[in-house]
């Protein structure tokens, strides 16, 4: 256990702090839940400044417009901590930057890298992800959007759902069934689709929060060049798994839980009932402390993961449990915030008595969506059990919706 940093890192931390202090005037305003909107010129300018300083696209090679530093988890972690502590927005977090770029770096052709990466990291070309379909939620590999190669073009038909940012993205990376006769996982290809291609229709998907955080995207004879495929035909599932590997720092990110918890703490010091603060209520305080223990546990767990990464070891369970732990924890934090507000906790959208712009109710619902959306708790627990504990996979069985049995016991008693 050695939590001290080499002088090099202490210096680096100072450098980041100085940068933030000197440049924070250029940072776009903090984003609240209400305005999950398209990044604009302010964000792009800030991103350019960050790339130049090495605080965004840090490890992307210079030839593709990045800063070109060697990967160093600790540096990344220091950058994230300092921006978060200063309350200043860090680099753009679009799905193109987080997921597509590392994937192309790993399996893309030189042409694809040169064509897509520079514009992705500046935000000039915004990406969305076409994975989920209405019929394939947790069972992603059962997707049905199909692509047929006609001459030098893919012709795509089908439908995607849960596509964040599709209404302003220029590009989509997309899983499409191109080999209908191959086994389920081997029939999928990873295609890159310009969103302005004729036949692409984006329609907003309103959710329970009352907003349209997501879209549906329909493909009707959409034709894209045959070269817009990453890796080979039928290798889309493998490519997607490369991509998933890079999906870090998002779901289950301790920084998010810490920030959420701090908001809750402020709220509980502010809200009163009959003049007495919520935090002085023994039962609310008890729940607050239960959550603080979990937030801290997640934070230190993440330091274990980081350590393993730094040393090139597999953090195993410590990493696998993070998403499940973090998303459920965030949802519990939201729930306590609502309860601490009492009756006022149900307010939403507007009004004099609305707290924190109604973010807590919005999060309470949105986080439930994340618990479901990033692989339901059941899928998460399967992953933990099967990959982390080496328990056997679910046996194959076909049970159609019709013709259910039932009526007799599945087991006896003793």
């Amino acid at each position: 256990m050695d939590l001290s940093l080499d002088q090099r890192y202490l210096d680096f931390r100072d450098e980041v702090r100085s940068f933030i202090a000197a440049n924070r005037g250029h940072a776009p305003p903090a984003v609240t839940f209400r305005d999950r909107v398209k990044p604009g010129p302010a964000e792009f300018a800030w991103q350019a400044r960050l790339i130049e300083a090495g605080y965004a696209a840090r490890t992307i090679p210079r030839e593709y417009g990045g800063f070109g530093a060697e990967p160093d988890m600790l540096e990344q972690s220091i950058i994230a901590e300092e921006f978060s502590a200063a309350g200043v927005q860090g680099g753009l977090q679009g799905i193109g930057i987080i997921m597509l770029v590392p994937t192309l770096l790993e399996v893309g052709t030189p042409e694809q890298k040169a064509r897509y990466i520079p514009k992705a990291i500046t935000g000039e070309e915004w990406w969305c992800q076409g994975y989920s379909e209405p019929g394939s939620g947790s069972d992603l590999a059962s997707l049905r959007t199909r692509g047929v190669l006609e001459g030098d073009e893919w012709v795509i038909n089908g439908q995607k759902i849960w596509t964040s940012g599709a209404h302003y993205a220029q590009m989509m990376f997309c899983l499409v069934r191109t080999e209908p006769d191959a086994p389920k996982h081997r029939g999928i290809s990873y295609l890159l689709i310009p969103m302005n291609t004729p036949g692409v229709t984006v329609s907003p998907l309103k959710t329970m929060t009352g907003r349209s955080e997501f879209n549906q995207v329909f493909f009707d004879d959409v034709r894209i060049p045959a070269t817009n495929i990453v890796a080979g035909r039928g290798e889309g599932w493998k490519v997607a798994n490369v991509t998933l590997k890079h999906e870090r720092g998002g779901l289950g990110d301790p920084a998010k839980s810490i920030a959420r918890f701090e908001g809750l703490l402020k709220l509980m010091k502010r809200e009163t009932v009959d003049g007495s603060r919520a935090i002085d209520d023994p039962l609310l305080a008890d729940r607050l402390m239960q959550l603080e223990a979990k937030v801290l546990a997640l934070k230190f767990n993440n330091m274990r993961v980081l350590t393993a990464d730094l040393e090139g070891n597999d953090p195993g369970l410590a990493r696998l449990v993070t998403k499940y732990y973090g998303t459920v924890l965030n949802h519990e934090i939201d729930a306590l915030a609502i309860d601490a507000m009492g009756e006022l906790g149900v307010l939403y959208e507007d009004g004099e008595y609305l707290r924190d712009e109604g973010a807590w109710q919005a999060w309470y619902m949105h986080d439930l969506g994340l618990i479901i959306g990033g692989g339901s708790t059941n899928i998460q627990r399967n992953i933990i059990a099967e990959r982390g504990l080496d328990l056997p996979r679910e046996p194959k069985a076909v049970i159609p919706p019709q013709g259910m049995g039932g009526g007799t016991a599945s087991g006896g008693r003793g």
Partner: protein, 359 residues
Amino acid sequence: MRFGLSSEQETFRDQLRRLLNERSPLERVREVAAGGSGYDERLWTGLAEIGAMGVLVPEEYGGLGMGAFDAGLVLEELGRFTAPAPYLGTAFVAPLVLSESGSNMLAAEWLPRIAGGEARIGLALAEAVGARAGAGVRNEHGRLSGTALMALEAGTADAFITAAGGELWLVRSESAGLTCTAMTSIDRTRALAELRFDGVEAEPLAGGKALTRRALDLARVALAADTVGAADAMFEQATAYSKQRVQFERVIGSFQGVKHALADMATALEPARALTWYALHMQTEMPGSTEAHRLACHAKAHLAEVGRMVARGATEVHGGMGFTDDLGLHFWFKRIGLDRQLLGSPEQIRAEAAAAMAA
């Protein structure tokens, strides 16, 4: 002895369901919710026609003079359909509180109109549980001043039963000095409002603290009944969905993960329903008794917890679909969410129940 519905009650419930199926399907709920009044004329008239409005109104005032359990059936069905109808204040709390206040004049004025579906009464009781954000209403020589937040079923109310100075008052909506500002909540099927009182004339309801507690007991058990209906509806939708939705070549209801989640919901919900039924029953069987109070506390607090668990679990069983606006499952989710927060958190209400027991 029968713990449950009589055949007359079953008939009544069937009648309610037919009415609600016809006049309050989801698409209609959606429309009314968009308006935010928490009120649907056609549904309200229908409820009056089948006698639902007068269940607790004494026969002498044109009602049926039945028990709280009968009225609870209406509440449960309204919850099941997330129906926008200010029944809780008007037809559940008001008839009993006005009858018990001993004012024949008020009773004679309001009860026949309640039974006939011609009047609506909101509840401004939040501050009797705990005043938030500096709110509170004072009585100054029979005139009320101050602020009441989260007044319930306020959208089209003709009058409010208002707690002030430890007592209850009837305040007419058109009174001079009263301002009513809508408060927007997650659940648009019920109208909430901020009431500002500036020396507003009000009619006192005799009964003091006991009547205030009585009104709270009634409102709380009514919210519990609403949650029973709403949670039941979510649970049933989740069960049905789990038998249709296929993932990994299997209906998802064949996976233990889903199966056990549904079994847990059933296990929480079935006994919780029985608890609520008994709590309803006691409100007119032993009105105002310690036992009735205790049961009202337990029903409200317990259903708040069970409701939250079912609302979350049933949404999760639906996967992404449950999160969409289109499916509309969120109307129940939000209704249960509102019921939970109103008139005392589970912790607060349990503390009340514990104080009585610890003595």
